[in-house]
Each structure stands twice: as C-alpha cells, then as structure tokens.
C-alpha cells in the first residue's frame, strides 16, 4: 500500500474508489492543519517525517486487522510527508462498509491504531520562522510551557 505521499492527497479519487464496492455506508475523515495560535506564535504549517519503511509496514498490518475484524469493510488511507500548510489535508481515511456501525467502528479503530503504532512525527512551523517538534496532543502543548521545549536539552 502507498500510505505515505509527498504531495497533496487525491481525496476525490480515493472516495470514488471506496464507492466502487457499492457500500451502504461511507465515512471519510480528513486531518486538516489548523491555524493555531500558541504561546510560541502563529502556526503556519506542519512538517511530517516518518520512519518510512516501518510506517508503511505497520499501516499494512492495521489494514489487515481491519479486514479481519470487519471482513466486509474496505479502507483506504493516505498520510502526507513534508511541509503541509495551514488549511491543507495531512491525513485522509475513507471507510466503506455494508452498514453504519461497521464503518464507524472500523474508522475509529484505524485512527486509534495509527496514532499509537505508526511512526510519524510532526513539527510545528511558525510565522517567525521558528519550529519545534510537536507533543502528542496540541492541547498539551497549549497548557504546558515545559512541553514547548521538549525534548529537554
């Protein structure tokens, strides 16, 4: 599977592919870079890096587990690498299944497993030209100065 992509994600093509299975339910999820204002400044983009061979293999395993748990579901997922400006899609996941429950369950499973298992990192890029590697959750970044300097130098 080509999970990691260098340029913009072709959302329409992936959704069309998911619909070819003639499902009863299609769920699509987009992770979009949002224009956060943090104590460090205005975010202009995120830069994604990955342990690429392992990320591809680990995502293959996640997709295989989806096929085992929900045999009638069909999943497609793409994650961008490199610089992704505010407003653009960094992650696209589309799930099709015979019914709503299966589609939602498989979608939730894919996102949780990806977050926990797929080795991808993002760096916050700010308007003043500075940058820092993101903590796991932006909410944490906003409330803790100590996280802003992670890792400790």
């Amino acid at each position: 599977m080509e999970f990691l992509v260098a340029g913009p994600i072709d959302v329409e093509s992936l959704e069309e592919s998911a619909r070819r299975t003639e499902p009863g339910a299609v769920i699509s999820f987009q992770g979009v870079v949002r224009p956060d204002r943090t104590p460090r400044g205005e975010l202009t983009a995120l830069e994604f890096a990955a342990y690429e061979p392992m990320a591809e293999e680990e995502m293959d395993r996640v997709m295989a587990e989806i096929r085992t748990r929900w045999p009638e579901a069909h999943a497609l997922c793409r994650h961008r690498l490199g610089r992704v400006p505010v407003g653009e899609t960094s992650l696209f996941l589309v799930l099709s299944a015979p019914d709503t429950t299966q589609a939602f369950q498989a979608c939730h499973f894919a996102l949780e497993q990806m977050r926990a298992r797929v080795p991808i990192w993002k760096k916050d890029l700010f308007a003043d030209g500075s940058a820092c590697w993101s903590a796991s959750h932006r909410e944490t970044l906003l409330i803790s100065d100590s996280v802003l300097s992670y890792p400790p130098s």
């Binding site: 992650l91 080795p119 590697w133």
Partner: protein
C-alpha cells in the same frame, strides 16, 4: 555491528539519522554502554528492531537495525 536509526528531535540533536554501533545484548544495553547517547531514550520513547516494535530489553543479534523512536504524533 548494529545499525541505529534516529528520528525527529533525536536525529536533530544527534546531528545524524543513523549510527553504526558495536553489538550489544539489548537496545537498552546499547545506550547503557554509551552515556553520551542517553538522550535517545527520552520520556515516552520506544524502540523498534528490524522495523517492528520491540522492547528495551529484547535480545539483539549482530546486524540488527535498531530504531530509537520519540513519541509519535501522527494525525
């Protein structure tokens, strides 16, 4: 020898994404033998061996690829 891969903030701090290290019994032992590399195990860091998640005390063999992975932040 062990091929060590570093990513994200760990690679930036080391100034490289890859190191070649003498064999050690475990990933943890690789770092214990070299205090200057202790920064490769920050809070929440994990390790992978030959592209699969592993443990700090998992056995290593000569020629293994060990990746030191800071907490991931996909999505």
């Amino acid at each position: 020898m062990i091929r060590a891969l570093l990513f994200a903030q760990l690679a930036e701090r080391a100034g490289t994404g890859a190191l070649t290290l003498p064999p050690a019994p475990t990933p943890g032992a690789l770092l214990a033998a070299r205090p200057e590399l202790s920064f490769l195990k920050p809070a929440g860091a994990r390790v992978a061996v030959n592209r699969a998640w592993s443990h700090w005390d998992a056995p290593l063999a000569d020629g293994d690829e060990v990746a030191f992975l800071p907490p991931t932040t996909a999505l």
